[in-house]
């Protein structure tokens, strides 16, 4: 899944608060200085309770403007950040295209950007963000190796596409050149990630689904859908074409023109045969297509599957033989941050990795960047269900307390290691991006 238009969670919607006007009468810098003094006065007052770590006190009441996609821009996180750190987190939820645009074109409109790794590959070179000094992050060593070396386990293979570790580091503080090895300068601290596959209606497909190519089965003519976001849609298409045995890609995440042409030809042929019922662009559309029975098999994102199930309709996030298409997002710092604001941002990022947020996100079916810290904030049953792929012992609750699954349920696809270990490619942006988008338009217009 990607971060587009994900209006899945009610609180996500209410999280879309536009950055407030700057306080009148007091300049931003002046305000920060004043806040620093006030913060100093508050030092040692011990006002913060309920959290094992003592967070810096001088960053109290600093406001950080974070924007990103709906998935991780959650009100609950901003409330908890206020509680633990005292900072005010102003969240703006946008779709991923808008996020990319804003990072590049309005660099002063945000303090913290919550973007996807493939967006990072596009936007970081524009020079509107600054890398993070990893030595300032206490929880840096807790971050999953997937984001550092690209390997979940020592023996796992690095998936195709824009694997997060390839754009995770730059060569120096002022550099916008991605480093080939981990350095001290990290572009994004991973927040959440997941592995995407096809969603199916087990009650309507009438046969086991095991491969990506099953979406092209003539039996499902007029009952399938893929997503119409070119950069992600083309990857799903590549998974399908490769599974059909039609095309062998050198790298699905960075196709050649010939590979793009061949892929689009297959899609066009399928479209003219009437294989697709519709193409969807936003989260809600995919939920509606599935729950109304318009389609029985389609590319889907995991919270969409949960949303269909929440309506009492059977829906399965089907693991497939060829593996998953994965995506990941992270938060990074705006170039203009400095001084106390920068300190606050570092503190916030460290807090983000310290476990509470991770547990919160894990409970939504995503994975958190620092699994070991989030484990401490989850019950054994929750950890077993969401991460270890074990049958639930009791009710599994969503973060807002709704029953998602009952005892005995097993997560589709199994454990964290089963799912993230079977990633075939990561969401990416190709060198031939311009060409690909033109071809994609050709497919849609055909």
């Amino acid at each position: 899944m990607s971060f587009d238009d994900k209006k899945d969670l009610k609180d996500t919607l209410s999280a879309s608060t536009e950055p407030k006007e700057e306080r009148s009468g007091l300049s931003r810098r002046g305000f920060i200085k004043a806040a620093g003094v006030a913060g100093g006065a508050a030092l040692g007052s011990g006002a913060i309770t309920g959290f094992p770590m003592i967070w810096a006190q001088n960053i109290k009441d600093i406001t950080l403007r974070q924007f990103g996609t709906g998935v991780s821009n959650l009100n609950a996180i901003s409330q908890k950040a206020k509680e633990d750190l005292g900072i005010n987190l102003e969240l703006t939820a946008l779709d991923s295209d808008a996020v990319a645009q804003r990072v590049v074109t309005q660099p002063r409109s945000f303090d913290i950007a919550d973007i996807e790794y493939w967006i990072c590959k596009k936007t970081f070179p524009a020079g509107t963000m600054q890398p993070m000094d990893t030595s300032r992050l206490k929880n840096f060593d807790k971050i999953s190796q997937l984001f550092i070396t690209g390997k979940l386990n020592d023996d796992s293979e690095i998936a195709q596409g824009t694997a997060p570790h390839t754009v995770g580091f730059v060569e120096g503080k002022e550099s916008v050149q991605f480093a080939s090895e981990p350095t001290n300068w990290m572009t994004l601290i991973p927040t959440i990630y997941n592995a995407d596959t096809l969603g199916i209606r087990p009650d309507l497909v009438g046969r086991p689904i095991t491969n990506w190519r099953d979406i092209m089965d003539p039996a499902f003519k007029g009952k399938t859908s893929i997503l119409n976001i070119p950069s992600i849609g083309i990857m799903d298409a590549a998974m399908i074409c490769e599974s059909m045995g039609e095309i062998q890609y050198a790298n699905k995440g960075n196709m050649t023109r010939e590979e793009i042409d061949a892929t689009i030809e297959i899609l066009k042929a399928a479209k003219s045969e009437g294989q697709f019922r519709a193409f969807w662009k936003s989260f809600d559309e995919s939920v509606n297509l599935m729950s109304s029975g318009e389609v029985v098999i389609q590319s889907m994102w995991s919270p969409a599957v949960a949303a269909v199930r929440a309506k009492g309709i059977e829906c399965k996030y089907q693991p497939l033989e060829e593996g998953y298409r994965a995506w990941g997002g992270g938060i990074g710092l705006a170039k203009h941050l400095s001084g106390l604001e920068l300190d606050a941002a570092y503190e916030y990022i460290d807090w983000y990795l310290s476990g509470w947020v991770g547990a919160y996100l894990n409970r939504q079916g995503y994975y958190s960047a620092a699994p070991s810290t989030s484990k401490e904030h989850m019950s054994a049953d929750e950890w077993g269900y969401w991460i270890e792929g074990k049958p639930a012992q009791g009710d599994i609750l969503s973060p807002d307390g709704k029953v998602m699954e009952t005892a005995g349920a097993v997560r589709d696809g199994g454990s964290y290691w089963d799912r993230m270990g079977a990633v075939a490619c990561w969401n990416s942006v190709m060198d031939e991006n311009k060409y690909m988008v033109r071809k994609w338009n050709e497919f849609i217009a055909s």
């Binding site: 950069s231 519709a278 109304s292 991006n433």
Partner: protein, 284 residues
């Protein structure tokens, strides 16, 4: 100063001129300039190249998108014109009481109190495979299998356009009909014209301006639309607007700008053809 006092009209047009300059001319000029720029995945590169236009004007995608858009525009125009004229005619000539006339007119506008996206989306549960229309038809045994082309098809797109834009025809046509001198109708009938002759030789010529204004609304709205097309066709067909929007969302502003310039020119040509037939200034 002396010039201004001698010619106060210049002073009077200044506010409007400034507004137009700032909010119409300036953005359009910017779009034209950007359309000659180069771009890569994340940046606009100021330049002067014709590549954006070259691709746009030679691509088969552009042609098919334009054909599709013209198809939508012309079909929607014909249907909204027929519907709009009929409704306006009924309101203007059959309803005698001015009160009832106003009430019915307001009734026409009631659906417009909700956003047009909502009005569009509300068709989806109605027309879907398991939607109201299909299940009703199946229940009364008129059809065996659900009709697939009701939703996510050109039919659905045009249905939505007609639903959304008929009022834009009704209002100006109704307005010009109300200003027709009733004696003319009487005279026409007295002179032996049939009802149809009266409509086509008296009423239609006299509400040309209303028809023109309504047509301008409908045609320009449909030509520039992207959301109706992508929602109602389920993303299966692409109008010019959809292509531009795709490019914008991928930060390909120069390509989108070139698309917008070509679309603007196309629509302007269409309007100038319409103005050929009707001199709106004279008719108003």
């Amino acid at each position: 100063m002396r010039f201004l006092t001698a010619n106060p009209s210049y002073l009077q047009v200044t506010p409007l001129a400034l507004v137009i300059l700032l909010f119409l001319l300036f953005p359009v000029v910017t779009i034209v300039i950007v359309s000659f720029w180069d771009y890569n995945a994340y940046q606009l590169l100021p330049d002067f190249i014709f590549e954006n236009y070259e691709f746009l004007l030679t691509s088969s995608v552009t042609l098919s998108a334009y054909l599709k858009t013209f198809f939508f525009a012309i079909t929607s125009w014909l249907i909204t014109l027929t519907l709009g004229f009929t409704v306006a005619y009924y309101l203007a000539f059959y309803i005698r009481s001015p009160l009832l006339q106003s009430v019915l007119f307001v009734l026409c506008t009631v659906p417009f109190l909700t956003s047009n996206i909502i009005r569009m989306i509300s068709w989806i549960p109605l027309l879907g495979r398991n939607g109201l229309v299909n299940s009703t038809l199946q229940e009364i045994n008129l059809i065996d299998a659900p009709i697939e082309w009701l939703l996510y098809s050109d039919f659905a797109v045009i249905l939505a356009f007609v639903h959304l834009y008929t009022l834009f025809m009704v209002v100006p046509i109704f307005n010009s009909m109300m200003r027709i001198d009733r004696n003319l109708i009487e005279a026409s009938i007295d002179a032996g014209a049939s009802a149809f002759q009266t409509i086509f030789q008296v009423v239609v010529p006299l509400c040309k301006s209303g028809i023109a204004i309504g047509s301008i609304f409908v045609v320009t709205l449909v030509m520039g639309d992207f959301i109706t097309v992508s929602l109602m066709s389920g993303g299966l067909s692409a109008s010019v607007g959809v292509l531009i929007r795709n490019e914008i969302s991928l930060l390909q502003y120069p390509a989108a700008a070139a698309g917008a310039v070509v679309l603007l020119i196309t629509v302007l040509i269409m309007l100038s053809i319409m103005f050929r037939f009707i001199n709106i200034k004279k008719e108003l």
